[in-house]
Amino acid sequence: MIFSSSIKSRLVAVFLFTSAAIYASLGFYLYYNLKNIAIGAVDEHLHDEVQLIAGHIYGRDGRDSLAELADIAIGDYAEPLSGHYYQISDESGKVLESSPSLSIVGAALPFRLPSVEPELSFITGPDRKPHRLIEQRFVTPKGKSIIVQASESLTETYVLLSVFKRRTFLVLTVVFLLTAAAIYTAVGYALRGIGFFTREVGLITEKSLMRRIDTEGVSDELRPLAESFNTVLSRLETSFERQQRFVSETSHELRTPAAVIKSYCDVTLAKKRESAEYITALEGISNSVGRMSFMIDRILEVARLEAGILGMTRADVRVKDVIDDVFRLVGQKAEEEGVLLKLDADDSVVSADRERITEAFVNLVYNAIKYNRRGGYVDVAVRSDAKYCVVTVSDTGVGIDKASQQKIFDRFFRADGARSVADGTGLGLSIVKGIMDAHGAAISVESEEGKGTTFRVAFPRK
């Protein structure tokens, strides 16, 4: 589990590994320091002993005298194999004198010829225990070399060190465990923000998208995450609301023709009728079904536009050609309504999906005809400057009041004047806007009641 993907276990593992390494180093450092100090103390003592022995040999009168050594051959030096030894030899290795602790049992310290500087080494003593040995060569005034050796058992030192080692290990282990517990708690404490965050996020469902994470409640490190999360939530909520509104608006709009069909069926079936009445009813039903399927097509188109999944093939299109096509498509309607179509266009070319913008302009021009007066006209102008190609569609119709102008591109919005026209779906202009948006073109409306309306589309130039 230590190497699992949990932040907590990883952090704890790293901290534990680090602290284990630190404590182990500390333990070794302390141990070796103590060992050096202890051995150093032994060395110092041995050194002093050698100086003392040498001092005794030289004597006060400068004569060689080993006799005075008896003064120091007391205490530990007198106990056989006590662990404290000295030995004085000549150059050939012949033992001249040694401490009673050696001589009584006939033991000797290993001999070699040292320099005049004190030399230290570890040996196995005559008692088969570890010893520290010091040896130094002295030259008598007569030019004779005397080798003085002293050794001391390290057994006690080693016992002391081993006790120290055990205790240190124990103490450091306890400290390590306490550290581990502290680390575990601290990491848990540090990460509780994530727990809080997780709980907060867990409370957000598709029914409670209005909930936000309290950015004051999280730690500094998590705040940017919480803020990003809230931003994402807001976007989700908006799009969710848009979807829901769309569904509710759509079902609302489809219910009316459904009610017409249902009522035709119920009323007609309520009693036996003449065949002419059945024909009337079926015609009414057929009209409503037609209207419904027209509306469904438009709803699907709006849905595709909003989802941005409309496949567009853009090419260079001369706007004048598009408007010519539009006029051909709506020419008959204009004639029926007694409305004159006029075009004043330059040769501007825009990058657009020809089919889509034709559809959009058919919608605009068709509306301009539908809500016009007999003898009125629809004026389309195409003008370009360095930045934009602007197309205006103006009519001489009834106009749109200010309040309706704000909502005219909304889905299913129909101004009062438009509601009474049976073939309207309230989707035409939102489709136009969707198409223009997909082209990066801006569409706006200006209108004066009783005088007419002008739609203005500005395509960005390449």
């Binding site: 509710s248 079902s251 609302h252 709009e253 219910r255 009316t256 459904a258 009610a259 017409v260 069909i261 249902k262 009522s263 035709y264 119920d266 009323v267 309520a270 009693k271 009414g284 009209n287 409503s288 009062d416 509601r419 009474s420 049976a422």
Partner: protein, 225 residues
Amino acid sequence: MRILLVEDEKELSNIIKKGLEEASYNVDVAYDGEEAFYMAANYPVDVVILDVMLPKMDGIAVLKKLRAAKSEVPVILLTALDSVADKIKGLDAGADDYLPKPFEFGELLARVRALLRRKSSAKQSVIRIADLEIDTAARIVRRGGEEIALSAKEYSILELMAYNKDRVVSRQAISERIYEEDVERDSNVVDVFINYLRKKIDKDREVKLIQTVRGSGYMLRSQEE
């Protein structure tokens, strides 16, 4: 009985009007909110069927304005909005009933009858006056168990008097409820219809149910004085 239907979708209002007329109601139609308020406030209507989404003034506003003007006419809201919130909004605005589109036409008729009964003392769709039975759902009239065939106008007048049994119904009230607003009314016609009704209902019967109240109008009486 006279119903005001407010629905701006022409096709829908036409077919509902037809269905209601075939159920012997006299139907006026309004196509926008302002017209609806004017007609509901000034015509002697018994029930208003009111669409919510209307030009000029929406159905809820019409309803509030009607209630503010102390009109107690029963109102059924007819709407394509079917969320609970919309229903609550409609009922709180003073609607007596709420019917989401699309609806079963039979249900609309049943709800209209329920509202008509609410105004009268009748509690069931079959109204009984002595041995006279008027089944307002099936539009069948019986007396002493014997079915009596009535014309649409005769039935309308009898139903109006049945909903108002033991109360005087004026000639004008009868005339207003059997004729549309723009028809030239002649109160003599009411007398003629009452005569037809008497022949079919009271003739050769010991108890005469249709009574003339001098100077006021007519009444269906359930018991002898």
